[in-house]
Symmetry: C2
Subunit: 201 residues, 2 copies
């Protein structure tokens, strides 16, 4: 009773289990036959759910790849961190936490998802939109924490710049065939905004 278990009912558990299964099945099919040649109908049949449910779960075919169970948790932590620390420190903090979480979690699936994102333009577009939205959300949280008005120019440039750099870092990770350690990459992202971009000028 004193545990902070969110009292998640059977309904929700089944839903998440089904979503995990559909994503897994879809990733397998995409790897085997290519993204374009696998229809949503086929994914649904192979996962024993109706196509209707796949669309109810993910909304679009692209989001079968993009969906991540833990994303909402991350989004919730940002305003929390900003309440007690300045933006750059929060950035460093979040980025560290994210890296160690990623290293702990299902890396194989994550890499397959990132590879698909980088290979399929439609998935790439949906992913880019997600990043853009994340930058907006981050900017809003920073504005509130600093007591600036919503949409403050400096904050806007900062939040979009940071998210842009993170995205660039993930691209670098993929391009290096995931060989550059993620902590190296994200450490540089944080350092760039703390001490400036080290381009000879």
């Amino acid at each position: 009773m004193s545990e902070d278990t969110p009292v998640v009912g059977l309904r929700e558990r089944k839903r998440y289990a089904a979503m995990r299964l559909v994503q897994e099945v879809a990733l397998d099919l995409f790897d085997a036959h290519g993204y374009a040649d696998v229809t949503v109908e086929r994914i649904a049949a192979a996962s024993d759910v109706s196509p209707s449910s796949v669309y109810r779960y993910f909304g679009t075919k692209e989001h079968i790849v993009l969906w991540d169970e833990n994303d909402p948790i991350w989004f919730a932590r940002i305003p929390q961190g900003l309440r007690s620390h300045p933006p750059l420190e929060t950035l460093r903090f979040m980025v560290d936490a994210l890296v160690s979480e990623v290293l702990r979690s299902d890396q194989a699936r994550l890499r397959r998802r990132i590879s698909l994102i980088m290979r399929e333009p439609s998935v790439e577009a949906a992913s880019a939109l997600q990043a853009y939205r994340a930058a907006e959300a981050f900017g809003t949280a920073v504005s509130e924490a600093l007591g600036r008005e919503h949409g403050d120019l400096e904050v806007q440039l900062f939040s979009h710049g940071v998210v842009g750099a993170v995205v660039g870092g993930l691209h670098h990770w993929y391009e290096s065939a995931f060989s550059t350690p993620l902590e190296t990459i994200m450490g540089r992202v944080a350092a760039s905004f703390e001490r400036g971009f080290g381009l000879a000028d």
Copy 2:
């Protein structure tokens, strides 16, 4: 004969004229009835071209909005600038040129296009992908100019960070109902990367 006129033939001139017309007609229809409720077929009929041609011109419905005649010219100028100036100076230079070009050109159309991008998620996604691709191209050009290897981490973070900030600036412009002067916004973008982001920390 000594002029650098690209000797543009009748064929190409007609093509561009048709594209301009289709975009204009489409923007009018979108404003009148909403993006989702205007089919490509309808746009084609109202522009007196076949739907096939609309797809040949723009590729997708979203790119009817995104297409800009002058984009290729801009892309071509980047490596040129980087050959003679360091990245931050080139950034400042390009951003200034872009602003004065925008102020000179058809602003009404530009604002209608930006408004559509911000309002319609599918157009927003395609636009975000374009920005992402631009960051890649910019990064490649910077790497070459600085003699670093392709995909150099610092360059990657810089180029994506810069493009992210520019995108954030455009968002701010839109949110302010285009009242914040574009030169103020873009000046801040350049300054942020030259002297650091001025967030109290």
